[in-house]
Amino acid sequence: METKLRALPRRNVRSVPKVNSSWKKVLHNYELYLFLLPTLIYFIVFHYVPMYGVLIAFQDYMPTLGVSGSPWVGFEHFERFFNSFQFWTLLENTLELSVLQLLFGFPLPVIIALLLNQLRNQRYKKFVQTVIYAPHFISVVVLVGMVYVFFSPNGLINNFLMIFGAEPVHFMSQAGWFKPLYISSGLWQETGWAAIIYLAALAGVSPEVHEAAIMDGANKWQRILHVDIPAILPTAMILLVLSVGNLMNIGFEKAYLMQTPLNVSAGEIIPTYVYKVGLQGAQYSFAAAVGLFNAVINFILLWAVNRAAKKLSGSGLW
């Protein structure tokens, strides 16, 4: 009882100069706040104002009235979207593409990093790395352009198939080919680059651990299983959380560019739909509602996966 009483006034005395000193720090470092100011303004104007602007999803937005003046309509746009005939197709396409991408795009870089790490010849390793990183820097437009020329009826792929007497396939005008082409071109472009992080984690494994394993008679395959894989597991976990958290943010640009009138039934995903309805069709409120639906699902996924990862392995994003 006595100690409590004594502690109170003391804390009060100490807190006064603390506030003072933190203001002093702010004033003393005013230049740092000036450094930060343009970036702060940027984030407020181009990220937080649009977050406020998403309110138009619950309004009938009129450009002349603005966000504050437009009439409220509640969940009308959401209901219209859920009841529209495209809803299930869009959701299915979006989820199917992103799950497929995760299914192949997640393990492949791990495997390649593990194998590259086993190469003893450092110069050859460097060469392979330089080659497989390169496609990462190709623009989406050029990548999709390459898909179009290679998979055209008289393109490289069909010329190759015809050697074996196959009939030319019209890849870009068949809905069934959209997803395989989307996924495989993505793997071609990003797998090598995605392996970098795992290679760095593997480089951090102490050689002594491997030496001890060799002494115990472990061969390379056993060392990969029992030394290398446990070493990259935490990194892999964080990356898995990140990619599941971005599941619904599947690349708009590539899907949009790969769409042709004949394959669009398989290629229409929520983001491309938002663009077409919102900007080309000028239905701002409806498109904002569809976009918000996407963003909310995404955020819930991220939150759930992060929680699960933290419970399972103790490493999460926050």
Binding site: N29, E31, F46, S139, V141, N154, K220, W221, N298, L317
Partner: protein, 305 residues
């Protein structure tokens, strides 16, 4: 000591039969992988200088046939491509300048432990990676600011990338020692002077990484131009590429003089291979030299994850 080292290398080179098989399969696999990655790029180069009929008939596989530079000649005569090139260079230079200046300034401020409220600012910025207002509200902001159909629409709304901000901040935190700041303060050095005269000269690697990351993004971006620009004179190279490669609109000036439709199509294909090379040339030439900076940047970012 030498004996120890010898033992070590002996240990590493001791190979079981299984390991030899493993190494052989591994080497074969990685070589195949490299070929799969590089062949499409190599094919574009040889196809761009081959006779279009040979490419069309599938006679071109490993080296060019009937070498011709007709495709490139037609590309160089086309004004759209040159306007696009000029615009892209302008957007890339100005955009990168804005990006790098803002990012480095903010990242340095955020790297200082004595910045009151720095966690608040970090959370404010990082949150935007996981949640955003979306395409339409962002478009409306840019439109209301009167940026539509100006180059600023491609630059200001992408002024700072959160990921790069984290990378630069991590770099400053791990390379600028606190003692340096303390002693500079003793000498009466202001924060601005310290940043310009001491921090920046010590940060050349991160400046290189930032310039490259942002410049490649600008060079490759097409979507912002698609939604914000209406005037074709302002189109960047990627939009021109889109109309040639994907919408199949090699302009009349490029193939208009060719008589039959079939021949026009073949020359249009030749032009496609050529424009891919022309668009990728700056990066293709620089890539082997700058690759290590990209890798470095990717790794600094991953520490913080």
């Amino acid at each position: 000591m030498t004996q120890f080292v010898m033992n070590r290398s002996k240990l590493w080179s001791r190979k079981s039969k299984e390991d030899k098989i493993f190494d052989l399969i591994n080497l074969l696999f990685l070589t195949t992988l490299s070929l799969v990655v590089i062949y499409p790029l190599y094919f574009i180069i040889i196809a761009s200088i081959s006779n279009p009929d040979s490419v069309y008939n599938g006679d071109v596989w490993f080296w060019p046939k009937g070498v011709t530079f007709e495709g490139y000649e037609r590309i160089f005569q086309d004004n759209r491509i040159w306007t696009g090139y000029k615009n892209t260079v302008l957007y890339t230079v100005v955009g990168t300048l804005v990006n790098v200046t803002l990012t480095l300034m903010a990242a340095y401020a955020l790297s200082r432990k004595d910045l009151v409220g720095r966690n608040f600012f970090m959370i404010l910025f990082v949150f935007t990676m996981f949640f955003s207002g979306g395409l339409i509200p962002t478009y409306l902001v840019v439109k209301n600011l009167g940026m539509v159909d100006t180059m600023w629409a491609l630059i200001i709304p992408k002024a700072v990338a959160v990921w790069n901000l984290i990378v630069a901040r991590t770099f400053f935190q791990s390379t600028i020692p606190d003692e340096l700041l303390e002693s500079a303060k003793m000498d009466g050095c202001s924060n601005t002077k310290f940043f310009l005269k001491i921090v920046l000269p010590l940060s050349k690697p991160i400046i290189a990484v930032m310039v490259l990351f942002y410049a490649v993004t600008h060079w490759n971006s097409f979507f912002d131009a698609l939604i914000y620009l209406n005037n074709e004179d302002k189109y960047p190279l990627q939009l021109i590429l889109r109309s040639i490669l994907i919408q199949n609109e090699a302009s009349a000036s490029m193939v208009g003089d060719v008589e039959s439709f079939a021949a026009q199509q073949r020359i249009a294909d030749l032009i496609k291979y050529g424009v891919i090379i022309v668009a990728a040339i700056p990066l293709l030439i620089l890539y082997p030299f700058i690759q290590k900076y990209f890798v470095k940047g990717a790794l600094i970012g991953s520490i913080k994850g």
